[in-house]
Symmetry: C2
Subunit: 669 residues, 2 copies
């Protein structure tokens, strides 16, 4: 498997100018300094550097050679790759730019051809290289992070560089770093799959600008997140961001709301930026699981602890009062003016012993603790850091630490990082990381398995009776209806149904029936029905008139299906009227959804309390409604050419549902 | 004025043990090292330190003496203060703890007494001291920040310390720092007033846990923010945070939503934490005003720029395409694969000249720019920092810079800070600061002036007819109504009004009329009215029956008035029903509000589009409705014993309003 050779090559050849200060030379120097044992240089003048001898062709190199790191000009890369392929190289890191991102699609196609010819796996072009701290493979121009348990996949080299820089500054160790740039070789899927099985990688962090194979990516991601946490920064969230993504990688970003839903459904943790990403990687790579949302905050100063408690509360962690027993224990060793309500304020007198004892006491009844120390001139910081580390080890529970202020604070911070305890810049950041840690323990609904194909929609919109038949066939409740093609049929139907009736024109030429006079409600008797029929049947393209009893429900829901460019079928639901139109109170998921997932969609609506009976109406049977939504979400799989569908409205009263209007559109050929 | 002496003393005496390592000694050392010229020590053994001679009593000191910095044990502080008072000291910084915060209220009262006797202004006790970088007054145990234009007022000493530490790390200079701890001497009001007039202070940053004189504070704050920006971190936002505030300063925090409204109305900028506060102080202290929301992002790497554009968009800044002329200019000097849509991507080839030229071109048509540089091995960073500084100076517009990654980046960062340009840790943070900078330029509605007293409510709830009369008297539209005390009066009234009528019991014993069968709607004729009257008049305590025509409107609004512990009268409005109950879609302000402010309340509702005609109803006359809300917000000033009031519902249709039910409660005696 040649991706493995990207990370674990026997020998590495660096292709590109090795003259002093040139990228090739810088790479050779970094690889050798990091301690990678077998490095060679490749350039037209056969210039070497240090212990790395220079060659004109890779075929001249007799040592085993797996990986080429290429920084030569774009126009030369295909030839260099072919030369390396001939020499047995099966993996390449193409840092050189000037390909797809600069309009040179042909150049990029050539790379793919050469790579295919020799069975080479490559990252790039236009990437920032690759690092494996475990074997000193520093094949990147970016920072040199310390070893650790987090691996980073970055589409953008610069963002990768920024993250590594920040990781270094914050003491977060990395196992592997890889950037894939234009991604015409290996992409996010291959790399994610590889790191999922990498024993050195405990946490995966990804920076994504777009995803090319949405469904495959999600299916894989779901498997990976069951094994290890995946933290994602996905850019292009908004209008101007999307424009920038488009111009700098040549790929169109999908709708951000869909990405949000997709990543959450797959169990990944999406954060807004690199700082949050670092915080989370620290928490996940060095803290044990947080099995309860109860949090203790131990501090020697009130103010920062209040800000911390505020944020914890906002994020749904529980900063509750200590139990009487715990309180009593705390009181036994703390001064009388210490704060014994959580946050536990040890006061400026809080020394190492107080921190340790208070942490141990509180961790017995909490899922995690924040230890917050603001340096005082009264006490040295190092013993406090040691005490916190001891308490964390003895309790076996997550302790997030903040050490701030004072001349001796750096030493204490360093100690803690070496003890593999995460340090946060503020209490607010610490609790944010803990909140994600706690959430990661929550069970996720199982993925819904799409059902096998059942039929075809055909191009264009179904007529309403056809759409209603299709819903009925697939287990969705529809009212009894009749398609009347003549006045006689209409009157006969009127006799069979119960007045008052609703009458709607059926015409392929009329898409928005109610706006075009195609709907007449509340016909109370034969006379009114006759008049309604006569009006409707003369509308353009009218094939008949659809009749069904007037219905209503406690609520009107809207269900929708559409296709996202990246992720395919997407299902949405919301209450009708102002809820969806004005308040944009809509829940969205990648389809299909299981009944359980559909239930979480309903619960996520701001208007959810209304459905559950808050306004004096009969509470809706949520499970039955969720089952209906789950069925609806299967339609694009049962009918693979389904382009778009909606039920608007779905009347809902207690456990009774009725799809009163439906629109189903098949793909154009 | 003795507060001035806190910051500009002629001589300083440090009271407390001056033995090596003790707080007194540390303070003496810090003051002398910082270069403060006239420092004395005061302690029972008359121990001095360095150039500061020691004394047993301040009266022995012959040099002019204005300020005492006290770190002696709590039990000695009152005597020390009196001794200093005798010696002519008129300002004191009481760092010692063990007073109100530790349950020693009596000790704190004694301090106040002594201070009053000698006319001493003091900060503390239980505070972290005071710093004036302008005269080397380093009377604090916290970090020693570089000089600058930001002044910080912190209730908590620890938070002040954390902020100064972060300021130092980020290169933000401070003019003054003062923490006031328990605040029994000078408090947030005095300090804010002082710094408002301090010529060295360009930006004021405050950390608040609670505000004692809410109204006075707001009135002052409003004046200050018209002159200089005030950035506030207010803790105790949530349940557990409020508990912590309570235990560590002994003061109850007000409702956070009220604080939010109050600070915004006064023009202050509230941020969530210290990191944001530092960012904003950097922006406000060294950038010129941002007069348009149009933002250019100049970068040498796509990824971080996309994240930046995302965030800018979210915050309402406009990251728009460059004009054709600007685009042409950019194309004239940039390589063909550069990104010319905003963000402008100079690519890795972006050198100093490219940064400068691109910034100057874009700043001609934008309100500000973000210059984002991710270090590359191709180019040195310092010339790029210089080019950015030159472009910022030449354009005269705000430029927020991010310099990241690379061995030579620290030097470039340092250069930029010395050029007084703010450096941000990420593009996201930079645009957040710029968004606040832009918002600060927006005009704020004028404060509403409360009207003079008109009458009294009296204790308890007004009867509904009384409440309706009071609304009518104050310019709020009420329906024609009659209070019928007998059946004859009811029938006569029915003849005068137009059927159908609504009938409500009037009884001091029935507070929730509709829940207790006290409301009968839709009586269509004399017979129905008779029956309704007979039912209602026999309810407990019934004094009569209120009759008025059945009314309805396109919308139902709810207006409310209540009293906040810190800020007094507060006014709220929202649409009735699910909007306020389920969606909590309510706008809130400190009363009274001007018509203009009331209009912003309405616009702030999520349901605002409905009022403005989004659902096919007649659009509401917003100005007239805002005038009504403004009138309503005056009630607690016209009737100073008004405790609580609401109009629920206020029917609204176009420009017609009708208060159909009112509840007005006077203060209990």
């Amino acid at each position: 498997m040649s991706i493995h050779k990207l990370f674990y090559p026997k020998g590495v050849v660096v292709a590109g100018s090795a003259s002093p200060g040139k990228l090739g030379q810088v790479l050779l120097e970094r690889l050798l300094k990091a301690g990678f044992p077998s490095v060679f240089a490749l350039n037209p003048k056969a210039i070497g550097w240090g212990a790395a001898p220079g060659f004109v062709s890779a075929r001249q190199i007799e040592a085993p050679l797996d990986l080429a790191v290429i920084v030569s000009p774009a126009s030369t890369v295909a030839d260099v790759l072919a030369d390396c392929g001939e020499a047995g190289v099966r993996a390449a890191i193409i840092i050189s730019s000037g390909f797809g991102e600069a309009g040179n699609a042909e150049g990029e196609r050539q790379l793919q051809e050469v790579a295919a010819r020799y069975g080479i796996s490559y990252t790039g072009p236009n990437c920032a290289g690759l690092i494996n701290t475990g074997n000193n493979l520093l094949a990147s121009l970016e920072a040199a992070p310390p070893p650790g348990a987090t691996s980073l996949i970055s589409q953008s080299g610069a963002v990768g560089g920024v993250m590594m820089d920040l990781a270094e500054a914050r003491g977060l160790g990395l196992a592997k770093f890889v950037s894939y740039g234009n991604g015409s070789g290996v992409g996010e899927l291959d790399l994610l799959a590889y790191l999922a099985n990498d024993p050195e990688t405990k946490v995966i962090a990804m920076y994504l600008e777009n995803i090319k194979q949405g469904r495959e990516f999600l299916a894989l991601l779901r498997q990976v997140t069951a094994k290890k946490p995946v933290v994602v920064v996905k850019s292009g969230r908004t209008g101007s961001g999307q424009r920038a993504t488009l111009s700098h990688t040549g790929a169109l970003a999908g709708s951000d709301q869909v990405y949000d839903a997709a990543l959450a459904q797959a169990g990944a943790i999406r954060v807004a930026g690199i700082e949050d990403m670092i915080d989370l990687c620290q928490a996940f790579s060095s803290l044990s699981p947080m099995k309860s949302k109860k949090l203790a905050i131990i501090t020697n100063s009130g103010g920062p602890a209040v800000l911390t408690a505020d944020r914890a509360d906002e994020l749904g962690l529980e900063v509750g009062e200590p139990s009487p027993a715990c309180r009593e224990e705390l009181a036994s060793f703390l001064p009388s003016h210490a704060g014994l309500a959580n946050p536990i304020d040890l006061t400026v007198e809080g020394d190492a012993a107080a921190y340790k004892q208070a942490l141990l006491a509180c961790l017995q009844e909490n899922g995690a603790a924040v230890a917050l120390y603001v340096g005082t001139p009264y006490l040295p910081a190092l013993p406090i850091a040691q005490a916190i580390a001891e308490a964390a080890a003895e309790s076996g529970k997550p302790v997030a630490t903040i050490l701030q202020v004072g001349a001796d604070i750096k030493e204490a911070q360093k100690y803690l990082l070496q003890a593999n305890l995460p340090l946060f810049l503020s209490g607010e950041r610490a609790v944010q990381a803990l909140a994600y840690l706690a959430r990661y323990q929550e069970s996720r609904p199982a993925a819904a398995e799409p059902l096998p194909q059942k039929g075809k929609i055909g191009p264009g919109a179904l007529l309403e009776p056809e759409a209603m038949e299709l819903l009925k066939l697939n287990g969705m409740p529809t009212p009894p209806f009749t398609l009347a093609k003549s006045l006689e049929e209409a009157i006969a139907a009127g006799a069979g149904l119960t007045y008052p009736l609703a009458a709607k024109v059926v015409s392929p030429e009329i898409l928005h029936k109610s706006g075009q006079g195609g709907v007449i409600l509340n016909t109370k008797d034969e006379a009114q029905l006759t008049e309604a029929f006569r009006n409707l049947i003369q509308l353009p393209g009218a094939l008949g008139v659809l009749l069904y009893p007037m219905l209503k429900g406690d609520f009107e829901l809207i269900l929708g299906l559409s296709r996202d460019r990246q992720f395919g079928p997407v299902v949405a639901c919301g209450l009708g009227g102002i809820y969806t139109e004005i308040l944009r109170d809509v829940a969205l998921r990648i389809a299909p959804v299981s009944q359980e997932e559909a239930e979480t969609m309903l619960r996520q609506l701001r208007a959810y309390p209304i459905l559950s009976g808050a306004r004096g109406k009969q509470p809706v049977d949520l499970q039955a409604l969720a089952r209906l939504i789950s069925n609806f979400s299967q339609l694009p799989f049962l009918y693979p050419d389904l382009q778009e569908a909606d039920i608007n409205p779905l009347f809902v009263s207690g456990d009774e549902f009725m799809a009163v209007d439906a629109r189903i559109i098949g793909m154009a050929i």
